[in-house]
Subunit: 413 residues, 2 copies
């Protein structure tokens, strides 16, 4: 039995305990929050080692920014855990139920998934965040963070394991894989029999590697090649405002837009107004030939641009001749995350919401709202761009399964 | 582009049409039912070729039984399609919705999954059954049946494609892979970008091969290593009756039981009563040493027996000393399908339903009730034994996904 199989077996055992842990889960979460605060110095010290290694290895500054933990960031992590403790427990909810004609009482009840694997990259705060969401929803978790954050992650996981043991939970409810080789990651993806689901959080490269190699069920998260389509009946100021917000309020996140599609009949009037707003933030525009003819100081887009999630102050621009062409473009190039139509035409709004096959489809609002907090889910483990099990922002409910409980008095078939 | 990729592309295009097909779907289903009846002779003739090939190849009789189509079986297939047409359309159901404080109207709506792949074995009736369920739930389907039924399947698929075209749907809503090599099956399992989900229906071997090779999301179905635990407080007659029903009413199906666990304090009284009932059907008992000491004319079980889904008139028997031991045994050996406790003890009933992590958990009723029809789902595409997306009997709702639709009037974040 490999080390990881042993870890899987312990996690599976812990998951059985969690099935009936009830209020102990919240007690454990509060212990975690307290322990994170108490051990702030220790965490920041372990993190300093990661930062030092990253600098030695010439890791780029934006990555180091994500890696760094300060007293304030540790306090945020503890706060996040407390907020999760305060959410309602999803487990045990009766989703539906009925009594059949033979007297069987059939209930469909929400239960934990079991053991969840999380593969992530450089952000060490994911360690406490993901563990807390899994624990709250009654799941054991096996964490596999990036090698850049290994010292921070080991320190945080160790603190969490001790804290939950203090609350009376098996410490194996939370486990961290300390081996950050590619081999350990692939082994986790194929830990069938122990792992019920694997959730990758991070770059498109990571997510693709997981989809490619995993033999356990996966929930894909996060890649957002999002679009705004400006219909011929759009309010121009509203369109410019939504595009400005959806592109520039936080370009590095998955619900930011990457391409706008503008109806040809309003392009000459609309595009300069949009560009004027985007110029405030020096957004680079990558334009189709027709839109490049209208605008000056822009770059020409190529086929790759339509597929690209820039995650930066860059936006692709394309003129289309109809809503059909806009819908076709999105069907071909979108990652299925979030799309918006700006329109004042009722039937175009209805067509867009019906025919666009993405997790979140907007009429006259910024795609930046695609977020667990904004949608009222309380907390979020990620945004699913697949259609199985969960789609869009995933909260605690999306970390659960269900089972049927049938009570009888001797019925046979 | 390979043939299968072309098929995937056409299916994806057809799936876009289905997003808004509404009532056309029912029209197409009724056309299918009529066309199956009209072409009964043709279907039976194509099937005769499969039967002839099977006999030439020395295929065993039980398999030929599953393969054979008569006029009556074709009529049953048509009936099945009509029943599916009569079910409520799951698509467009608003699952939840709210208006947020900034005025955004957020709705979560049921939508089709997209393109579903079904891999199955020798039963040609699955061809119409699975296609009708997928179509009703707004999905395009790519069917990959077993080589034994290829002539029947080609004939049925051809009839269905023509029928739905007559109703105004793209014929590519239904496609059959005619190449029954292992290569085509593996290619289907890795048709990412075209296939939204793959559902294997058939033997444990098929399902394991799909889990092992698939890169698209899979819903595992069907393997049922089911248990009855006879508690020390059980009504003996009820226990014997439930065990008799769950083992012998239809041993070849996944919700039949394979192992019974009997509390040691009632074993001497209970086991002979159970055996007396099972003797009516000549059930072979494979017993642990302690139960073999009580019963005569039984075989000794080995470790493999606890894992085995006999699908036959064979039952494994084990004596346990506590409900804890019963729960541990099930946690270790069960496939997570259906388990039952026979008890008159309230707290043991509650413990069993809470701690057994299977799709269906029964108190005092036969596991044979785990079935879409019995649970009121109307029709069933299979029984999921995984925890992601769907668990237990899967009806039309389990063949759907959801999306968020957000209506605003210019909101930005």
């Amino acid at each position: 039995m490999t080390l990881l199989e042993q870890m899987g077996q312990k996690a599976k055992q812990a998951a059985r305990f969690l099935l009936t842990a009830g209020e102990l889960k919240n007690k454990a979460l509060l212990e975690i929050a307290d322990a994170l605060i108490e051990n702030t110095d220790k965490i920041v010290e372990a993190n300093a080692q990661d930062i030092k290694n990253a600098e030695t290895n010439g890791i780029k500054k934006s990555l180091i920014d994500r890696l760094i933990l300060t007293d304030a960031r540790v306090a945020d992590m503890a706060d996040g855990v407390r907020q999760i403790a305060a959410l309602p427990d999803p487990i045990g909810t009766v989703l539906q139920g009925n009594t059949s004609s033979n007297g069987l009482k059939i209930e469909k009840v929400r239960v934990p998934l079991g053991v969840i694997g999380i593969i992530y990259e450089a952000r060490p705060n994911v360690t406490s965040d993901a563990a807390a969401l899994c624990l709250k929803s009654g799941n054991a978790v096996i964490l596999r963070g990036g090698k850049e954050a290994i010292n921070s992650n080991k320190c945080i996981a160790d603190i969490m394991r001790k804290a939950i043991a203090k609350a009376g939970l098996p410490e194996d409810c939370i486990a961290l894989i300390e081996d950050t080789s590619r081999a350990s990651s692939v082994e986790l993806m194929q830990l069938n029999g122990y792992l019920d689901v694997l959730i990758p959080r991070g770059s498109a490269g990571l997510i693709n590697a997981v989809v490619e190699n995993s033999k356990v069920p996966v929930i894909e998260t996060g890649v957002g090649n999002c679009h705004v389509y400006v219909d011929d009946s759009a309010d121009i100021e509203m369109a410019a405002n939504i595009i400005y917000n959806a592109k520039t309020s936080r370009p590095s996140v998955c619900n930011a837009i990457e391409t706008i599609l503008v109806h040809s009949s309003v392009a000459e009037k609309t595009l300069p107004a949009i560009k004027a707003r985007l110029d405030e933030k020096n957004v680079t525009l990558r334009c189709c030939e027709r839109s490049a003819d209208i605008l000056s100081g822009v770059e020409l887009a190529n086929e790759d641009d339509w597929y690209t999630e820039y995650l930066d102050y860059t936006l692709a621009v394309k003129i289309v001749d109809s809503i059909d062409e806009a819908i076709d473009h999105i069907a071909k190039y979108s990652s299925g995350h979030s799309e918006c139509i700006v329109t004042s035409n009722y039937s175009n709004a209805e067509r867009f919401t019906a025919e666009i096959d993405s997790a979140a489809v907007y009429v006259n609002a910024s795609t930046r709202f695609t977020d667990g907090g904004q949608f009222g889910l309380g907390a979020e483990i990620g945004i699913s761009t697949q259609k199985l099990h969960a789609r869009g922002p995933m909260g605690l409910n999306e970390l659960t399964s269900m089972k049927f409980i049938i009570r009888g008095n001797g019925q046979v078939r």
